[in-house]
Symmetry: C3
Subunit: 313 residues, 3 copies
């Protein structure tokens, strides 16, 4: 549409006002600094990492004994460069390194980004060994599961735990920002929100998973099974009590099952080994081992065609 000088002036004024707001609300800008890791880069990197963790499942290329070495080698080399780039940028953004005004992309940062990237790649075999137990747990735990291929390719919980086991390594290395961005990308794809700080044992199985939340200082044992909508969270903390080193989220011991919609809160809350927490249960205190906790059905009311009855179970 043809526009006159008046309309051009209106647009120019709008743009000037936006630029002024950048000066005024600097808190939500990221300007005049090093670039941050971008979501698109991290998303591509995670796709490559998942393809290395579960070879042959998520890519079109065909792997066999002869070609695997080259296809995997090429992908690892690419992942190395990608990791160096995003780890380097994340290290630059940290308050410790970035705040003193000196240029960030220096040899020390680059060296550290390289070393951490190699370290992560070196840990892939041990991450795979644990993921193998996770896939076995899904096959054992869900009557609807037909084959490892079905579990790996269509269970969002497998994707979520695979990425968590990578992001948790970066978290323990002390890399800022990046592990949380990885976790959030997978949260967006699966509805499963695992903070990279959470410690999670072997044979971990999430069924369905949408709405699951696992907080930063949660500790989970082996052979734990969680359903959709479960929250392992913190009791509200006033900002004055903010002690980040203190455990704010629960401990779930070995062999616990927690059904859909249950909420378990607090750093002192411990669910004992072998216990079962029923659907929609809300817990803020510990439960001994081998205990089943259920909602009491009598708290329901049944109304039949307008006639109210007290429910008796």
């Amino acid at each position: 549409m043809a526009e006159g000088p008046q309309q051009q002036r209106v647009l120019a004024r709008a743009i000037d006002a936006i630029l002024e707001s950048y000066a005024e609300h600097g808190n939500i800008n990221h300007m005049d600094g090093e670039n941050l890791p971008s979501r698109a880069e991290i998303s591509a990197l995670l796709d490559d990492l998942v393809a290395i963790l579960f070879p042959g499942y998520f890519t079109r290329e065909q792997l066999d004994d002869l070609t695997a070495r080259w296809l995997v080698g090429e992908r690892c080399a690419r992942v190395l460069r990608g990791l160096e780039r995003v780890i380097g940028r994340a290290l630059c953004d940290s308050p410790e390194t970035g705040a003193d005004g000196q240029p960030c992309s220096n040899a020390t940062i680059n060296r550290r980004a390289h070393d951490l990237s190699i370290e992560l790649i070196s840990r892939i075999p041990s991450i795979r060994a644990v993921l193998d137990t996770d896939v076995q747990a899904a096959l054992a735990g869900d009557p609807a599961a037909r084959s490892p291929a079905e579990v790996i390719m269509s269970y969002p919980g497998v994707l979520a735990i695979a990425v968590h086991r990578v992001a948790h390594q970066l978290y323990t290395f002390g890399v800022p920002l990046l592990p949380r961005m990885m976790a959030e990308l997978i949260h967006g794809r699966t509805g499963i929100d695992i903070h990279p700080g959470a410690t999670i044992g072997e044979r971990f199985f999430i069924d369905h998973g949408t709405g699951l939340v696992i907080g930063e200082t949660t500790v989970i044992g082996t052979s734990v099974k969680l359903y959709q909508g479960v929250t392992l969270g913190a009791l509200s903390v006033s900002t004055s009590e903010r002690q980040r080193d203190k455990q704010r989220h629960p401990t779930i011991e070995d062999g616990v099952t927690i059904y859909a919609g249950a909420t378990i809160l607090g750093g002192d809350t411990r669910i004992g080994a072998g216990s079962t927490i029923g659907g929609n249960v809300w817990l803020t205190h510990s439960v001994p081992q081998q205990t089943t906790v259920l909602l009491d059905n009598p708290s329901l009311r049944f109304i039949h065609r307008g006639r109210a009855e007290a429910a008796d179970g």
Copy 2:
């Protein structure tokens, strides 16, 4: 960054260790076999199928009486080839056909993949007839719904049920893997997790939908309305009881409404026609027809400025 021979050796060793882990944890590899259907292929196929089911809504091309025949014909031809490819690969992966070591891509598999693909395309008109009732149910059931366009283009439940009605056909044809992957792709996009095995009647309406889970053997009548966070699930089954042919998930009769966060479990659980299940209710037994089930409010506790009161309703 320039790296010396020492760093190259470190990377080469890391890659060797990954290749060794492929030999050791073969359960989570897919190598030396036919390719599996890839997510990217299935995603593109679903986009084409949805464009055929709801013509003119999800594509930029403009349809009219003159051009529709060619645009739709071209899209159907493409869908036919796409279906043949992914159905063929899924059939190769099934334990029955793929386990005996003989090459899988043979004339029998190809013929079967072709026949099932044509059969699915032939059923599109009857799937559309049912989807028409689903869209009408959304318009009738949600005061916020303004037009069929709004319902089709912005209700995730419409997308989820459209893909389910396609995936369920493939499930009843006995195609392995593929229906589950279709369901999971839409679960990822909408937060709605419907197992392709579920049987769902006409005039089905999902509002909001995030966190909804419908299990494999669920049976749902006509004019059923489900809200976000509802679970229609199984009671826990020990692996020894795994009877896949038995109904493990509930039956929901005609005209039932189930509000947000309600959980209904078990293959013997039947919700009678015309009943209403309130939000957050947890049910493991049947409910007669025309019954309203609610949480009893008195189970709440009100604390006003530090003073605790027993709630009386």
Copy 3:
């Protein structure tokens, strides 16, 4: 695979049947009309808008004092054209303008689309001022939050409220279809479902967010904090009572916190200032200010190794 004339006839017949079903079930077609706004266009537009709202966070280009004017100006010009296009198409689809059979793309529609697009761009500085308070609220409210960068780049609630504040403007301008499609795109990415009609005050913080639903006529004050799985919804309305101008969803006053899985329903329900609603609470009536509402724990049952005990807290 080579196919004979018989197979070609089968495909042709299937395509004819699909075209016939387009004539029969016209309710779910969009043919012979103006094009609707497409999801892909709206998705690209939202990416550009978010890049303008939070400069330097979601793009790879590097911004500084010298280049910002041109990079931002170019992006705003592109957003202007994109908005004109999708607003124009949405206006054509509205029952008021599109139903009388006259061609829709006329000068009046184009002028209105242009004016509304400029108006929206002019409001970006004031939207940014409010988003600044939202980011501050996240930093103050979550002990796990480390930096504004982490909050902006990895909290889905920040993305959801940013898009809501834009979509709500278009909703108040009376643009049909488009605000709902924007909301649904972000719902698909984050699991957070905010109707564009909802009125939301400053310092709004959503933690985790998956499964959160906020209905069309909800009114939310300042400094409100919501967790995952919260529903602010309507009590069921029979279609005869459909009064769209009436408030159907709750009012949440200043400083309220609502924990995971709580459900609050009804247009007459008002949660008083400073109150706290506990996890999984289900409320259909008002709560006075400064009140904490909790589920009564005694409604749980504990079964220890087969021995049932009444719970005493």
